[in-house]
């Protein structure tokens, strides 16, 4: 029984489910309550705009991290549960660099590199910020990418490569082990505390007018948009214009075929890790710069949202990951219009579950390749 046959059968059974009607009803209710909220003034347009802006930025981070997860998911054929901790590693390494550049001379190198573990140095005091310490931020983002790439390659060499031919499930379980080891090593080195990392007060901001009020846009918001947009464009060019990119797309479609046609798969796999991990590390750094706090659990907490984005966009599709990331980010932020704010993430998970049930190939399917 081929994949397509299974899939057709699957669609058939699902299309008969009454659940679809339920989803439609929920959507109608949401639309109605939003419109009536806006009309009666229960929901302000400016606060809605602020939520959308926040969701968009969150979505860019998720999308950026999602590209790497999506690529490894399709090319190596397993769900990497350690991906979130790659992101955290990048964030710590990058922030350590930023601290070092911004604070060298006045503070001990160790305390700076450890991102002020145990409260020895504070990001606020060092003036970490894209306008106050631009070189520190640029170098930090760079190092975040480089360290994460090195880590991903090392882990692939010693953990994943020896069991490359095992099932995706065996690799998934192994990646849970990697996630544990990595996360708690980070805690061991950097401590358990959540620290503030930026001089939040001195980040330039403008208030953008929005009909009945304003919403705030900071310099870190803008830098996130610029970095994420630039990197996404870069990946697009890499995959479309280079030979290696084409090989990667072929492999994500069909590994056996790629192997037969002589594409050097190990090299493609290495490139996949380099591109994916680099983006993830930078995403981690930009995330921490943007939200201004850093803790050892950050990546793990983000991971499920990244999975949601990747599944939503269709595994293997980088445009899907970006689009899915933005949808998931918006869902997590904007959903508080309808539901209590504690359930923003839950709403994003729910969207993912619904997609898995009704359209497991993702909403951007048809163009699955990279």
């Amino acid at each position: 029984m081929s994949v397509s046959e299974t899939y057709v059968r699957y669609r058939r059974t699902l299309s008969e489910e009454p659940l679809a009607i339920g989803v439609l009803l929920v959507a109608l209710w949401m639309a109605w309550s939003l419109v009536s909220g806006l009309l009666t003034g229960g929901i302000q347009i400016s606060s809605l705009a602020s939520l959308i802006w926040d969701g968009l930025l969150r979505g860019l981070i998720i999308g950026l991290a999602g590209i790497g997860l999506s690529m490894t998911y399709s090319i190596l054929n397993f769900a990497n549960f350690a991906h979130g901790d790659y992101l955290t590693t990048g964030a710590f390494a990058g922030m350590g660099t930023s601290y070092l550049v911004a604070g060298i001379g006045e503070n001990s190198v160790g305390a700076l590199l450890l991102v002020g573990a145990g409260g020895s140095v504070f990001g606020g005091a060092l003036g970490i910020g894209v306008t106050t310490a631009p070189i520190a931020v640029v170098l930090g983002a760079l190092l975040a990418g480089i360290v994460t790439i090195a880590l991903a390659l090392a882990i692939d060499r010693f953990v994943y490569r020896p069991i490359r031919d095992e099932s995706g499930i065996a690799l998934l379980i192994t990646s849970i082990g990697v996630a544990f080891a990595l996360r708690y090593l980070l805690q061991f080195v950097y401590g358990a505390g959540v620290r503030g990392t930026t001089a939040a007060g001195s980040v330039p901001r403008v208030n953008v007018p929005a009909i009945d009020g304003t919403f705030r846009v900071t310099a870190h918001d803008i830098s996130l948009v610029v970095v994420a947009g630039g990197l996404m464009l870069g990946v697009h060019l890499l995959l479309q214009r280079t030979k290696l990119g084409k090989a990667m797309r072929a492999m994500s479609d069909n590994e056996d075929l790629a192997r037969i046609t002589g594409i050097p798969t190990e090299r493609v796999i290495r490139t996949t890790w380099i591109v994916g991990a680099g983006l993830t590390g930078v995403a981690g750094y930009m995330f921490v710069l943007w939200k201004g706090t850093l803790g050892f659990n950050d990546g793990w907490l983000l991971l499920l949202l990244v999975f949601a984005a990747v599944i939503l966009g269709g595994i293997g599709s980088i445009y899907g990951a970006i689009g899915g990331g933005i949808i998931i980010g918006l869902t997590a932020s904007v959903s508080v219009v309808w539901i209590p704010s504690e359930f923003g993430r839950a709403a994003a998970f729910l969207v993912m579950i619904v997609i898995l049930l009704f359209k497991p190939e993702g909403i951007f399917s048809g163009r699955t390749t990279a």
């Binding site: 059974t13 573990a117 082990g177 990697v178 839950a346 998970f349 993912m352 579950i353 898995l356």
Partner: protein, 458 residues
């Protein structure tokens, strides 16, 4: 009686599950008691230590057994275990906590029903949520099911934490069409981030009272107080008794799940694990089997959660992070998915070596050597190396043992997946049948390698 014969017999002895279980448990307990001797524990300390070990062997054993039904037998990749555990204990608390007016310190009360009702409600609720997850999700690919279940368990945790469900005021009378209902509860809820104080009757006392064993039990306590542990031995004995209760629970889980496994039902589950299409083509309604197995496993996970937390003073949402799910997975993989005996052994080994072991190791080192204060952070720990002094690092490492044991768990999991993916007792050799499958009429089955030695009923 030749030498080979005797050797064969001894090997046969070790192939038997009972021997293996006793050997592993014996080794673990011996190690803990010896550690206790090294710490200079008295009887009270030793009993505490043994009770603690027993507790974790019990809970991890039970939960690994329940997971084995999902993953080992049916191949359902459930990484939302902690969600079902949380549902179990929260529902139990909600049903059995006394109303605030009677309950003293708690701000959130419950319905004040007997604990047995609460436990039953908790188990049923966990099973129902299992059904809720399973109905749509069981057709998903294994990795998708994994993501759905872990997302589910996180949604459960968000719900526990949320202010929305923190408290509700229960009206004095509820009109339900035909009859009215006067709940004793006044304020109920999930308690939000602060969690719930479990101010119901002590579960051990409730159980012993219902068995009319409470008075004899108090007699034993008094006897111990007179002869062995002079002041207030009750908490220690309670701990030991609760541990024994948990081991009985493990036994019941084991009997239930081996019966499930060694039956036509279990055989279909195994077939689904191997190739669902084949089972379907042989006329088995695989959806129904998967659903039943998932609901049963979820209910048992709920019970595991109840037994784990019900004797604690309180429960808070952070206890129900996905970490616990992964602990249970590691336990199952150590023992070998597919084997019930292996699952329990995995639970015991995980509890004794990986979960509690590192802490004991740290205490041992600290007892053996006079050590100073540990540095507060990694930077200070590394600073020692500048003057070629590794001590700060060693001290910091010892001090961080509770985090490092998670690193160790991760590394052990990776190692297992590389070297022993089938686990210690893997290879799934518990024959799925209620009867011995040897050719009828012939009593022998010697020399046959995979003979149904695990196939006997008890």
């Amino acid at each position: 009686m030749s030498a080979t014969d005797i050797r064969g017999r001894i090997e046969g002895l070790f192939e038997r599950d009972v021997t293996l279980v006793l050997a592993v448990l014996g080794t673990l307990y011996l190690a803990y008691i010896l550690a206790g001797v090294a710490f200079g524990y008295g009887l009270r300390g030793q009993l505490n230590s043994v009770a603690n070990l027993t507790f974790y062997i019990g809970v991890f054993g039970m939960l690994a057994l329940a997971l084995n039904l999902h993953w080992g037998y049916t191949g359902l990749f459930n990484i939302g275990i902690v969600g079902f555990m949380g549902i179990g204990i929260y529902v139990t608390a909600l049903v059995s906590k006394p109303p605030v007016a009677e309950g003293g310190a708690a701000q959130v009360g419950g319905f004040g029903l007997p604990l047995s009702v609460g436990i039953a409600a908790g188990v049923i609720a966990a099973g129902l949520f299992g059904l809720l997850v399973a109905l749509p999700a069981l057709r998903l690919r294994a990795d998708y099911l994994a993501i759905v279940t872990v997302a589910f368990s996180e949604i459960v945790r968000f719900t526990m934490m949320s202010r929305t469900f923190q408290t509700f005021t229960v009206p004095d009378t509820i009109d339900l069409w035909l009859f009215t209902f006067d709940p004793t509860a006044d304020t109920v809820g999930l308690g939000g981030g602060g969690g719930l104080i479990l101010n119901y009757a002590d579960p051990l006392e409730a159980l012993l009272r219902s068995l009319f064993l409470w008075e004899p039990y108090l007699g034993v306590v008094a006897f111990v107080e007179r002869n062995y542990i002079p002041n207030n031995p009750k908490p220690v004995i309670d701990g030991v008794a609760y541990g024994i209760l948990l081991l009985v629970g493990v036994g019941l889980f084991y009997v239930l799940l081996s019966r499930t496994g060694k039956s036509p039902f279990g055989r279909v589950l195994k077939a689904i694990r191997e190739d669902e299409d084949v089972a379907n083509a042989l006329g088995k309604d695989t959806d129904r089997f998967k659903l039943t197995a998932f609901v049963l496993g979820s209910a048992l996970m709920g019970l595991g959660g109840i037994l784990w937390y019900s004797s604690r003073g309180s429960i808070t949402p952070p206890s129900f992070r996905p970490n616990i799910t992964f602990f249970i997975w590691i336990a199952l993989i150590i023992g070998g998915a597919g084997s019930n005996t292996g699952s329990f052994l995995g639970g015991a080994i995980f509890a004794g070596l990986l979960y509690e072991g590192p802490r004991y190791f740290k205490n041992l080192v600290e007892t053996a050597f006079e050590l100073g204060d540990a540095p507060r952070n990694f930077g200070e720990a590394m600073a020692g190396f500048a003057s070629l002094d590794p001590m700060p690092f060693v001290l910091y490492t010892l001090d961080s043992v509770s985090q490092l044991r998670l690193v160790i768990m991760g590394v052990v999991l990776i190692w297992l997946m590389h070297n022993r993916p089938e686990g210690l007792l893997g290879h799934r050799k518990e024959t799925a049948s209620s009867v011995d499958l040897a050719r009828p009429g012939t009593d022998e089955a010697p020399g046959k390698p995979a003979a149904a030695d695990g196939g006997e009923e008890r």
